[in-house]
Amino acid sequence: MDALLKIENLHIEIDGKEILHGVNLSINTGEVHALMGRNGSGKSTLSNTLMGHPAYKVSKGQITFNGTTINNLKSNERAKLGLFLGFQYPLSIPGVTVASFLRQANKALKGDAVSPKEFRKLLYEKMDDLEIDHAFATRYINDGFSGGEKKRMEILQMAMLEPKFVILDEPDSGLDIDSLKLVADSINKFKTRNPQLGILLVTHYQRILDYVKPNKVHVFVDGNIVESGGPELALELEKKGYDWLVQREEVRK
């Protein structure tokens, strides 16, 4: 089977400094991969790079999505191919309402197919799934939202825009157990409806993986994947922490 997302020998620089050192990762249609690691290990760099953040330069290697090399595509072009990034720190855009933003994004991705009325109905449905009050539709994007509200809003956007592949950058950080469960349920619901969906789930903690079951788990240390395995790897990390992998890498160098 051809990989949905294929990353080959990816080297990334920011301001001339190399952050990722030759990452290889292949995710098939329908698979869920977890990417774990400490803060500063390069997980977010990979997430942002995949979505086309202009500050991250590919100095070597290749990213292929659905058969297309996307190294040089702008982020909106990547979105049109079906990529989606759930941000670790979603930004606020004062003066732009959630509904108008999603409607414009929806139009950019899918054209004028949905009438305003249908769109609203759909939006409310998805909001109900996430227990987001309908009033949020007319609030400004992430403006004054709590941490948990922002995270749920990212999942709402995913559910509305219906991507083929999602990178979720710490969708669990800062959430209490109830919110975590809501977010996980919504991810699962979306996944069930779209079995072809590929997911790269970036997280520190094993906890969310109890709900969103990964096919594979990868561990990032110092800008590269140092260990890959099945779901049991996450449990092992939960028990042993990351130190043994970090030390092993130091020895290797």
Partner: protein, 467 residues
């Protein structure tokens, strides 16, 4: 669009002389002022007022602040101070520059309105709406006239309030306006009367209204309310290089006045306007002031809160676009009574080398206890060549006042663009979303048709701003 507006003369957009019934000579003399007053058959007190104002104008120096370089380039000797046009069309639609026509087109401005805005038609042809509106207002006892007719038909009200808020001595341009004023609106709302629909100059628009030296006086009597809208989002084409209006608002006890302006003069125009309001006990005055056009605008809508529990609010937005444009806008609030409150919100966008300044005054007089005021100034700069400055002044002569002041200068951050673009939105559209969002505080207060037009105008201005 900017460059076309700048070079309007190359389109040969002139009026032909014979179309005017009266035209004063260039420059400003006592004789000209006298003849203006005589032409209008004014009462002696107004003639005297004009002449006295002229003396003040001669004596007053130019403001020593603001954009003094541009101010000193004004040649007062080279201006026609009074032009009364005939009612006939003076210009041909064919003469209107293509770019202006295109802008009208894209803004969706109705045909009749376009012709008026381009100076082709002397009268905005909305007679039907106008008449029914007039009937409704008449029943309520509301007076809505041009200022010249106001003086003729209601001399007692005009005499009581005219120039009481902005005396000729206030500044050189107020003195100039006082000497040569013509046109503008006169509104009187009787006690406890609410004018439900916004009064728009559109409805009684004629060439007089759009004059260089218009004079507007609005009196809201006790417990009444009125919303007045002047200007329009479409570029207002003017061959006059100096526009110097005076606007006075009087909100009596418990009255509410909202005054909305969208100014989009062509880029050859100096827009030097004095706007001031007085709010009596429990009264509310709101200035919504949007500045899109002109070469140099200097305008600081003011509110004197003279009665207890009066509230004043100014929302001032400016778009400075291109190195030939300076928007020097802001607000002044004077708390002269206890328990008064005020809010100033200033939003400016500068791009393409444009300069936007906020200039504000907050004054609290001694004895004005328990005053609350919030001032928020946000500037958005779209490129490195543009400029934004803030000149806030506070004079607080009373203790225990509660003042919040916040100022921000921002750029369109790459992170925000990335966020929006990651959802499929193009870079151009993402920038526009951020800019429109920035202006939302102003736009959301506008009647729907204005809001739509303004958003489209911003879109037009922003076009091609992606490097």
């Amino acid at each position: 669009m900017a460059t076309e507006l700048n070079n309007d003369y190359k389109y040969g957009f002139h009026d032909s002389e014979e179309n005017y019934t009266f035209k004063s000579g260039r420059g400003l003399t006592r004789e000209i002022v006298l003849s203006i007053s005589k032409m209008k058959n004014e009462p002696q007190w107004m003639t005297d007022f004009r002449l006295k104002s002229l003396e003040i104008f001669y004596k007053k120096p130019m403001p020593k602040w603001g954009n003094t370089k541009l101010l000193n380039e004004i040649d007062f000797e080279n201006i026609f101070y009074y032009v009364k046009s005939t009612e006939k069309q003076e210009k041909s639609w064919e003469d209107v520059p293509k770019e202006i026509k295109n802008t009208f087109d894209r803004l969706g401005i109705p045909e009749a309105e376009r012709k008026f805005l381009a100076g082709v038609s002397a009268q905005y042809e909305s007679e039907v709406i106008y008449h029914s509106l007039r009937e409704d207002l008449k029943k309520l006892g509301v007076i809505f006239l041009d200022m010249d007719s106001g003086l003729r038909e209601h001399p007692e009200i005009v005499k009581k309030y005219f120039a009481t808020i902005i005396p000729s001595e206030d500044n050189k341009f107020a003195a100039l306006n006082s000497a040569v004023w013509s046109g503008g609106s006169f509104i009187y709302v009787p006690p406890h009367t609410n004018v439900e629909i916004p009064l728009q100059a559109y409805f009684r628009i004629n060439t007089e209204n759009m004059g260089q030296f218009e004079r507007t006086l609005i009196i809201a009597d006790e417990g009444s309310s009125v919303h007045y809208i002047e200007g329009c989002t479409a570029p207002t084409y003017s061959s006059d290089s100096l526009h110097s209006a005076v606007v006075e608002l009087i909100a009596l006890k418990g009255a509410k006045i909202r005054y909305t302006t969208i100014q989009n003069w062509s880029k050859n125009v100096y827009n030097l306007v004095t706007k001031r309001a007085v709010a009596h006990e429990n009264a509310v005055v709101e200035w919504l002031d949007g500045n899109m056009g002109s070469k140099l605008t200097m305008k600081y809508p003011s509110i004197y809160l003279v009665g207890e529990h009066a509230h004043g609010e100014v929302v001032s937005v400016a778009l400075a676009s291109g190195s030939d444009q300076h928007q020097d806008a802001g607000a002044k609030i004077i708390h002269a009574a206890p328990n008064t409150t005020s809010v100033i919100t200033s939003k400016s966008i500068s791009r393409n080398g444009g300069r936007a300044s906020y200039r504000g005054l907050l004054k609290v007089h001694k004895g004005a206890t328990n005053v609350k005021s919030t001032i928020k100034c946000d500037a958005l700069m779209l490129d490195e060549r543009s400029r934004s400055d803030t000149y806030p002044t506070m004079e607080i002569d009373e203790k225990g006042v509660q003042i919040e002041h916040e100022a921000t200068v921002s750029k369109i951050e790459d992170e925000k663009l990335f966020y929006l673009m990651s959802r499929g939105i193009s870079e151009e559209q993402a920038k526009l979303m951020i800019v429109n969002g920035f202006m939302e505080v102003f736009v959301k207060e506008l009647p729907m048709e204005y809001a739509v037009e303004l958003n489209r105008l911003i879109e037009l201005e922003m076009e091609g701003s992606i490097g």
